[in-house]
Symmetry: D2
Subunit: 380 residues, 4 copies
Amino acid sequence: MKLRMGMVGGGLDAMAGELHRRASALDSRVDFVAGALSSTPERSRAAAKAWGLARGYGSWREMLDAEAKLPATERIEFVTVVTPNHLHVPVSAAFAESGFHVACDKPIALSLQEAKQLCRVVEKSGIVFLLTHNYTGYPMVKQARHMVASGELGNLVKVVVDYPQGWLLQPLEQQGHKGAAWRTDPSKSGAAGCLADIGSHAQHMMHTVTGLDIEALCADFGHLHGRKVDDDISILLRFRGGARGILSASQVMAGEEGGPNFRIYGTRGALEWKQLEPESLVFRQPGQPVRILRRGEAYLCDAAKRASRLPPGHPEGYFEAFGNLYRNFVDAIEARRQGARTEHDFPTAIDGARTMAFIETALESNAAGGKWMRVKDHTH
Amino acid sequence: MKLRMGMVGGGLDAMAGELHRRASALDSRVDFVAGALSSTPERSRAAAKAWGLARGYGSWREMLDAEAKLPATERIEFVTVVTPNHLHVPVSAAFAESGFHVACDKPIALSLQEAKQLCRVVEKSGIVFLLTHNYTGYPMVKQARHMVASGELGNLVKVVVDYPQGWLLQPLEQQGHKGAAWRTDPSKSGAAGCLADIGSHAQHMMHTVTGLDIEALCADFGHLHGRKVDDDISILLRFRGGARGILSASQVMAGEEGGPNFRIYGTRGALEWKQLEPESLVFRQPGQPVRILRRGEAYLCDAAKRASRLPPGHPEGYFEAFGNLYRNFVDAIEARRQGARTEHDFPTAIDGARTMAFIETALESNAAGGKWMRVKDHTH
Amino acid sequence: MKLRMGMVGGGLDAMAGELHRRASALDSRVDFVAGALSSTPERSRAAAKAWGLARGYGSWREMLDAEAKLPATERIEFVTVVTPNHLHVPVSAAFAESGFHVACDKPIALSLQEAKQLCRVVEKSGIVFLLTHNYTGYPMVKQARHMVASGELGNLVKVVVDYPQGWLLQPLEQQGHKGAAWRTDPSKSGAAGCLADIGSHAQHMMHTVTGLDIEALCADFGHLHGRKVDDDISILLRFRGGARGILSASQVMAGEEGGPNFRIYGTRGALEWKQLEPESLVFRQPGQPVRILRRGEAYLCDAAKRASRLPPGHPEGYFEAFGNLYRNFVDAIEARRQGARTEHDFPTAIDGARTMAFIETALESNAAGGKWMRVKDHTH
Amino acid sequence: MKLRMGMVGGGLDAMAGELHRRASALDSRVDFVAGALSSTPERSRAAAKAWGLARGYGSWREMLDAEAKLPATERIEFVTVVTPNHLHVPVSAAFAESGFHVACDKPIALSLQEAKQLCRVVEKSGIVFLLTHNYTGYPMVKQARHMVASGELGNLVKVVVDYPQGWLLQPLEQQGHKGAAWRTDPSKSGAAGCLADIGSHAQHMMHTVTGLDIEALCADFGHLHGRKVDDDISILLRFRGGARGILSASQVMAGEEGGPNFRIYGTRGALEWKQLEPESLVFRQPGQPVRILRRGEAYLCDAAKRASRLPPGHPEGYFEAFGNLYRNFVDAIEARRQGARTEHDFPTAIDGARTMAFIETALESNAAGGKWMRVKDHTH
């Protein structure tokens, strides 16, 4: 039995919708049946028709009302929210309050306060919530997380995460490029540019793999072409427990395709991973040959093995990593149906709140000329 | 409108069926509706049910008869053949003769003669035929083919193709491993072991990218554990036009994950590609910096760009390459519907016959102690 | 005619002396004839004998006096100073004032003030002064410098330099390791640990390649095992002209061998180089294949070609880079003899002062809890 | 006390002489004092003067006579032979018969018969003989040899060695290029072109690391531009004991810098090494992470550690590998002086004979159209 999925946003010309559609379909455990895919009723319904959905709606409210009235055997079981960022919380909260599970694109919210509010809704409603920080779905990221957690690196000393891109090096927003336009317009994307767009992925990756909490940070941002939001960020980090870190991301690094990439150093060993070579995890130990761990091998941890669809020798990539989020989300929903409350191996609302605390603190640090600031609390 | 697909073979425990199912579904242009998935009627129907197919049959003949009687708007439009090798030709031919398009796993046949016979059936029937040599579906392979064809390498001088694997280093066939057992049993896999299993991929890759025809070859095979089929092959090649080559493949190279990998040298430049790093194509020119071409970039040829689903920075892999075969196959079927006869960018029956000529000649060369032999004709 | 070299410090058990001996001898243009190699007269003379030097002295003052009295055709023409750091300035200044050319190990001094003082002595004396920041001797570093200077990267936007080592991860200084002991003892190495030892190389590399001046910096240092000096540094940089940077170095990164490594991003392109793969320089341009420039090739700039001793295909390394400093230093001395004042392609006293300004500012920034500070002036 | 070296051949414009001069000087244990460096007396003496040698001779016979008459404390202790190939044996034999140790460039001879003859002279004279197959001087090659010999790879199954170059892709010999002219002129270089020039390095590397003896081979050669000698070779190998191999080398592979590179596969593991990345040795074992062993590390075998001059993090290269041959040769001469007969860790005359047997057999195999031939005996 497949789960029935609905989607809000992600209409025909949006890359995000297409990615979620493919990622959710990857394991044939999801039926995409309903959608309110665009901001106007006409385009919304047209998109649903073009994608062959059973039920196309004119707006997400219409969709929510209608689906809630359908019998349980017909209505969607979860909604994927790929709207512009400012709608993430209203849509997610409304569906959650009606008992629908929710998969929401990152960033979870425009503010920490809004994110915390959604956390409360999610907790109260008891639904399963997936925040699609897709890069942490890679099997070798799970392996890295496992190795840190099981002590193979000893106590952590230094963490370096970087997410280099180059696509905004030219002022595309002045040349009619839609994606560049909204990302560099604070009224649409919020005060954070590169920081929210990809710095958030870097921070989430760092937290997922290391489990470390940032205590304080010092941020310095750059921006080209008179942009009103950052397009290049450098942040020094101090973690609870004494480790230090550097987090950087950029959208103006000529010729760079993307990340995130990390290096994690502990008292006993170190790990290195690059998203563009996702099947290898480099493990260094003092006085030992460098070890390259490879996706699909029997020596990996269970979570890494479960996250793999093909044997070694058959490269997996971005879609499979994204698909792993949906796979584990679907597992969790099915477990929930049977009354089980399982450990979730995917990002959820609290991760989104943590990221918003990071973003808001970094914005303030940079605005203050690069002052060290304690990271805001994201839990209350 | 999606195309309706049926499948013969590929039941629940077979990796091949799963791969074809995923690859054909990748772009949401195919509905997998019917199948005769296993060799016994009970298991066959059970498998169809487990996969949620609309119509499960007890045998491929039953399926052929039943589908042929359905109205054109309901019956399958093509069949995917993932049976054991000896059934490839009978099943493909029967469906082709009834007007169904066919996607058939490699190797196309057990003998050159059988392959030629199937070529004639395909030609006569006018159907679209796909032979799933999936590795040639990678975008950067298409780019390499384009660069050779457009003369960027000059006249070809030397070609080196290698497909290294290590999974048969231990005698798994003596330890209950099914895949190892049939692959090393000449009564089931034919006289060629590694040669047919992966050497065929290496040969097809070589031909696809270079367009060169092998004139003569000299083969030397090895086998461990008293195996009756080769598990390691080394073949010297002389091409029509004067270029030379080395083709090797092995299933007993400790720790190797797979290939194929190629290096192609011409009078003006050279290309290198490795399947485990499929997003990069290395281009060397005398007196120039080495150039690394990357998947997804605007400077690639049209076929390479069409074969890409994600922008740079988002790794694609094996499934996408496989999916490209189905995508182009579906395009061809749809063009055929409208009366068009398009250039096919995928392997077809004649490629299968060419590979069988290569395999038979290599077997004879090795059996003769490593004599140079002219490659058999595959066209008449 | 070879130049006659003397050495102060670098006795038998010191790696630095051995490196300088080999590097200066590499092109057979230097005769190492005299030395005051150790801190006690006996060991000093014994070392000179063991190395087969013509003249062994008990102390550097004895050496200076004696050599100054020799006829010009016999006395040393330059002295290499590889003493503990606190003697760099006194020894160098004394020899310079007597008209000997000087090659001095880095760091040039213990303080900015001392460094400036030495700059004045060097300028007044008119001698040729070499500061052995050896990593900038690599041919591909010269190529990078050339490409930045000639505008191939456009205006610089972001610079990232890293020097990762792991050898101080364990408290070797508590286990009788001499090199670890003096490096972590502020009374011997000064207040800066990793910062002075290798951070200085990173800063010098950054300046050499980019030509950028640091306007302000913000430093955050770590130290393990209760060390009194830093063993891990992270520094944010703002350059005059608007570019930004990150400079990091560590001696506690498990399993890391060393650097420095840099990535330099401009409005038109970017360069990447790693000291452990010194023969390749990666050049990225938006919308172009990645280019790998290789040592020894005819397309490189003159300075890079001159810095090469072997054709491509024959790896060069650390010694050759170090030797390039001595080669250019010897060229400069010979030019000076003939009255010419040539452009020097090697680090000199002013580079040392610039580095000391960087070090002192970084120490103060870190001590202030990570405050942004304007970099001190090193020119007056 | 340094050893006194003489040189025959290697005059000012020859790369080989320069390489030997540098390599022998690397550890300051050799004094280069005498030479007959060129084929005419005038140029020979001029070259000696230019290099500052104590004694320049007009011919090698003059040098031999004069040096033999000098007192033992003055005369050269060994001679380096870097003449054109046809003089290797006459010069080496004459010096050996007079009791001088000999370092001779490869190939040792023009024919197997001549090589065997020299072996007899060397054995009878009791001198130390070094054949300068320099690539086997790399530390990680010694490590590979050690791992094979100590059984870490199990029984060997397959060996692949390749030496790709591209510098003869254009007909340089028709454009006044001296090195290209003599190498492609059978009257000067012998019947073997690429085979003798670099194929010999590949064969020697293969034998050194694996210890395997070739039982039979099958060769196929190519040549561009109407050359009378091969410029591209592909050779299948069968080793005593059952392993198989592929040896290839080329001087017409566009953009390739050089090799040799090897992959060695056994029943328990595999090794991979590339000369352009000489500091890493890749070790694969079934079911294990890939291990990268690095030069300079404490876990390496003694021979590899002894062959290292710098700690990890400081790249070594071609000169150091070449220098290791001289270092071990000097050690052996010094041991000999003291009456010891030590194991030699460097190539010697018998290696040269083995290579000549390989070359002659390969030439005959290719001439016969690519027939399998048993390799000639090189020991009697």
